[in-house]
Structures are given as C-alpha cells and as structure tokens.
C-alpha cells in the first residue's frame, strides 16, 4: 500500500472519528489542531487505524507519534514489514 492510499484511508478515519468532514491531513497536523481530538477520540482513532490497516501498534511506537507524518510513517513501515 503506498503513502497516498494510507493517507486517503486515514483521512476517512479522521473525518469519522473526529466528526469533521473538512479535515485535511497534512504532515504537521497534531491533536492541538483538531477540535475533537481528545483522549477518548484518540483511543478510537488508534483502534480504527489498527483495524483498517490490520496492524498492532507497540506502546513505544504510540509514544513517538508526534504528528500525522509520524503516524503515516509508522503505518507505512508496519504495512511493508507484514
């Protein structure tokens, strides 16, 4: 799966979980930029991403997620290593 497709699928997840159809993913997007990105919705977003891409994040990996770019990088890496 290439980066563009990961971004597209992740955009669908973000729009649904954070309840905002206008969200456009960009590399430096963080929880501070999205109104509904709180602790509850963060859990749901991680859960949806794991389900959609059939991956399981390690706690250390989650702890390094600083922005959308790091999430896409991690997904790309985990999908490739499957």
């Amino acid at each position: 799966m290439d980066r563009a497709l990961i971004t597209e699928k992740l955009t669908t997840i973000f729009r649904s979980v954070f309840n905002d159809q206008a969200i456009v993913l960009r590399d430096d997007l963080t929880a501070n930029d999205v109104a509904n990105w709180d602790s509850l919705s963060h859990m749901l977003m991680i859960g949806e991403a794991e389900k959609e891409f059939s991956v399981k994040f390690k706690l250390k990996e989650l702890g390094k997620l600083e922005d959308v770019k790091s999430l896409i990088d991690l997904l790309e890496q985990k999908i490739q290593s499957k």
Partner: protein, 219 residues
C-alpha cells in the same frame, strides 16, 4: 503523625496503586469507568491497571513517577497522583493515557468504547499545559481525619515546585458527588472554576456522576 512515612512510589507499590486508582475512580459510587466503558470485569481491570503502571510511561495519571505513597507500620495506606501537564516535552497526559489503554485493553474493549463514548463526552475536560494536575488522592478510611491530607497536599506542591519553580497553579477534576474530597480541596484553598454537565441520563450507568468540576488553586 510522626509514624507516617511519605515517599515516592516504587514498583512494589503498583498493586496498591491499582487499588487507589479503582477506589478514586469510583468516587463514592459503584461505577468504575474502566469496567463500564471497556466492558471488563473489575478483577481484570485491576490487572490491566497494574500492567499500565508497569509500562512506566511518565507524565500522566497512570505513571508510577506521578505518585507518592504514605507508609504506616511498613504498609502503604495512601496514594496520591500528580504531574505537571506537558512538562519536559511530554505529550498531553490524555494522549499518553489513551495510548496506554489502547495498548493494554485490546481491540474488543476499544470497539465497545466506540459505542459508549458519546455518553461521556460532555464531562471530558482538557488539561491546561504546565499546570500541576492532581488526580487520585486516596487515604485508607482508618487514617482519615488525622491531618494526613494536609501533609500530602503540602508534599505534592513542594515536589512540583522543586521540579518547576515557575509553576502557577494546581488543578483537579472531580465528580460533583465526591463531597468529602471537594471539602478537603476547598479547605486547601482550591476554588471551583468550571462545571461540566452531561444531560444524557445514561451517564449514571457508566460514570459516578453527571457533573464534573474543575477546581484550581493558584500558588
């Protein structure tokens, strides 16, 4: 009073701290959000809380480093958690806690949460960066009324100010039905600065109460 030893929490305290978290989360009710929102029995929840503490993620309410413990005759009798929000470049504590729960509780629990999260949204309160966040303050019943809360509050504030002298305030999020804890906080100079209410009656099946207060004290 001198027989009380107040110290930083250590790994051997973790099972006790799991009990502290459970007792504090219930907040004078029998509702434990870790069970009701994630569809897990309390015994399993206790083990999962222990696992989360053992991960030693700093900077949130499930961090071993956030806690101080009081010992009496060699046994832990109180546990209190507090951390400086976002200190040392830490992520927001809510995200750290969510990562811990996502990792520990598993897919089915997160799927279950998805069907319930709308019920509790209205009582979720953002934490203010670079403030001291007080969460979980539990003293065993037989040691209540002996002035230990004064000692603990003082120690928590001293520890935080030693770490970050520019600290401006301490905040605490607390359900409105926790009347005794609210009284203690008011006595220690806290005031109520916000009230967050859910009008969804189902919330009583999942959380201790439908109103959460934000209390704070400036240094």
């Amino acid at each position: 009073m001198s027989e009380y030893l107040i110290r930083k929490a250590k790994p051997s305290d973790i099972p006790f701290l799991a009990d502290v978290v459970i007792a504090s989360e219930k907040a004078m009710s029998d509702r434990l959000s870790f069970t009701t929102l994630f569809n897990k029995p309390e015994e399993e929840v206790k083990q999962l809380i222990i696992q989360m503490f053992e991960e030693e993620v700093d900077g949130c309410e499930l961090s071993l480093s956030s806690f101080i413990v009081t010992e009496f005759e060699g046994q832990p009798i109180s546990g209190s958690g507090a951390w400086i929000e976002g200190f040392n470049g830490n992520m927001p504590s809510g995200i750290l806690k969510s990562n811990l729960i996502s990792y520990t509780f598993g897919k089915e629990s997160i799927e279950y949460l998805k069907t319930k999260s709308h019920i509790v949204k209205d009582v979720m309160i953002d934490r203010e960066p670079m403030t001291l966040q007080l969460e979980y303050f539990h003293i065993k019943n037989e040691h209540l009324g002996k002035g230990l809360d004064d000692l603990l509050m003082k120690r928590i504030e001293e520890n935080a100010l030693a770490e970050y002298p520019e600290l401006k305030k301490v905040q605490c999020q607390i359900f409105k039905n926790s009347v005794f804890s609210i009284k203690i906080l008011l006595r220690h100079g806290f005031r109520i600065v916000g009230s967050y209410k859910s009008d969804n009656d189902d919330i009583f099946d999942y959380l201790p109460f439908n109103v959460k207060l934000l209390m704070e004290k400036e240094f």
